[in-house]
C-alpha cells in the first residue's frame, strides 16, 4: 500500500546506485559521494523514526562504518540500501541503549533548548503533513511495527529484505507492517497524546 512511493523512488535509482557502489569499491571518490547522496536521505529518515533528533549523529557513526566496510559488501543497489540500513540500525540500537542508561532529564532539557518557534511551521503549510511530522508519528508505533513500516516505506526495501535487516521471519515482518499501518490510521483519526520525537516515548523506550 503506502510504501509504493518510497519503493518506486528507491528502485528507479537502484541501477545507478549499484554502479556507483561498484566504482566506489574500486576507490572512486566521486562514486562514493554519488552513493552517499542516494542512500543518506532515506537512511536519515529511517533513523529519525528510530532515534528522533539524534538521527544525524547516529547516521554519522553509521557512515564511518559503511565507509570502512564498503569493500566487504556484495550485492546490487537494493542490496546496498538494505546493507546500509542494517548498519544504521545497529548504531541506532547502540544509541538507544546509551540513552536509556542516561538520566531522564538530560535528554528532555537538550530538546527543550531546541524547541522550534511556532512560526516555523508556516513555511510548510502547503504540505498536508511534513516529513518530520510523519516520521514522528510513525515513531509512536511499537518499535517493531515502526521499523517494519520505516524500512519498507522510507528505505524502500521489499518484505524479505526488511525481514533480513530486522532478523525476523518475513511473515512476522508482514504482520508487523500490517498492524503498524492500521495503528497509523487510527492515529490519524485521533492523534496520540504525548511527545512526538521525545526519545523517552514508550515506543522508543522499549527498544532493544
Amino acid at each position: 500500500m503506502g510504501k509504493g512511493r518510497g519503493s518506486r523512488r528507491a528502485e528507479t535509482h537502484d541501477k545507478e546506485l549499484g554502479d556507483a557502489v561498484v566504482r566506489a569499491q574500486r576507490g572512486d571518490e566521486a562514486a562514493f559521494s554519488a552513493a552517499y547522496r542516494l542512500v543518506h536521505p532515506p537512511l536519515l529518515g529511517y533513523l529519525r523514526g528510530l532515534v528522533g533528533d539524534d538521527a544525524e549523529d547516529v547516521a554519522s557513526d553509521a557512515w564511518l562504518e559503511i565507509a570502512r566496510d564498503l569493500g566487504r559488501f556484495r550485492g546490487d543497489g537494493a542490496g546496498f540500501r538494505a546493507w546500509t540500513a542494517t548498519i544504521a540500525r545497529h548504531r541506532a540500537m547502540d544509541h538507544l541503549r546509551r540513552i536509556r542508561s542516561r538520566p531522564r532529564g538530560t535528554v528532555l532539557e537538550s530538546e527543550l533548548t531546541g524547541l522550534p518557534a511556532p512560526q516555523d511551521t508556516a513555511a510548510e503549510a502547503f504540505e498536508t503533513v511534513s516529513t518530520q511530522e510523519a516520521l514522528a508519528l510513525i515513531a509512536q508505533l511499537p518499535r517493531q511495527q515502526a521499523e517494519a513500516v520505516l524500512l519498507q516505506t522510507v528505505i524502500g526495501l521489499d518484505g524479505p529484505a526488511a525481514a533480513r535487516v530486522l532478523g525476523k521471519r518475513p511473515g512476522a515482518v508482514r504482520s508487523a507492517t500490517h498492524r503498524g499501518l492500521r495503528r497509523l490510521e487510527r492515529y490519524l483519526a485521533s492523534p496520540p497524546r504525548g511527545g512526538v520525537t521525545d526519545s523517552d516515548s514508550p515506543s522508543l523506550g522499549d527498544a532493544r
Binding site: R5, A59, G71, R72, D76, E111, D120, A123, A189, G194
Partner: protein
Amino acid sequence: MTENRSGDAVGPAAPPQASPQPQPQLPAESRQPTLDELLAAAARPAPVAPHAEENALAAFRAARDEGALELPTRPEDDWRPAETRTRVPWIRAGAGALVAGVMLGGFAMAAGAIPSPFADPPADKPRPAPRVFPSGAEERSTGATPPATVPAVPAATVPGAHEHPPTAKDLTAHCRAYEAAAAAGRNHGKPGGGNANGGKADGREAEGGADERAVSERLAAVAGGPDQVEAYCAGLSPDRPAGPAGEGNGPGAGENTGADAPSPLDPQAGPDKWRAPMQKPSRQ
C-alpha cells in the same frame, strides 16, 4: 549542538519539529492527512547536510588508503539475490568434496586400504612363471585385481612379458623383495610368510605370501638353490648395503618395497620397471 544539528539536517524547507509538546505535529486547522500522504511524507528525502557528506567522504578516503576495500566479505555483507548466494556455496562444496575425495583416496591407498597399483608389481609382474595353470585369457584382468588366482601364462603370450623379459634388473628387484620378505619372516618367525600377520588377513597378505614364494622359487632357480639366493643377491648388486630396505617393514613387503622402489638404494631397478604394472588397470 542541537540547533546546529537540526538546522543542518533539515534545512529551510522542513524546520525542526523536535518538540515534546502534546500535539504539535499536525496543525490543528488543517485537515487530517490520509495514510498514503503520511507515508509519502515520511519517504520524502530530507536535504543532506554538506558537512555530513564531507565527513563520510573523508572516512571513505581514509579507509581506502588503509586498504580497507580489500576486506573479506562476511555473510552479513552478502546481499546478492538468494540464488546467487546459494550457487557459490554449492560450487565450493563440490570443489571441497572433490579435494577431500582425492586426499582420502591418497591416504587410503597409502594405508593399504585400497588395492594400489604399486602394491603387486615386484613379485607379480615378472611372473612368466612356468609354474601353474596355463590359462592365458586371465592375464589382463588378474593384472589389475591382485592375483588371488595366480596368473600363470607362458611368457610368450603375455604382452607385458614381451616388454619386460626377465633381466638382471628384474632379478635385482626380486632380490629386494626376497630380502624384504626374509626380514619380515624373521620378524614373524616364519620365513617368507606374509600370512604370519594373521590379524590383517585380507587376501592381500596371502597374495603377498604367494608372491614372495614365487620370487623365492624363481631366485632359487636362477641362483642354483634356495641356499644360494642370498649370496646371489649380494653378488648381483655389490654396492648395495647389507641391510635390505624391507627391514622392519613387516608383511606388507609387497607394498612397501613398491613404495621404496625408487629409493637410491637400488638405482638399477629403474622407475619404468615399477611403473609398468600401474598401467594395467587403465588398459582394461
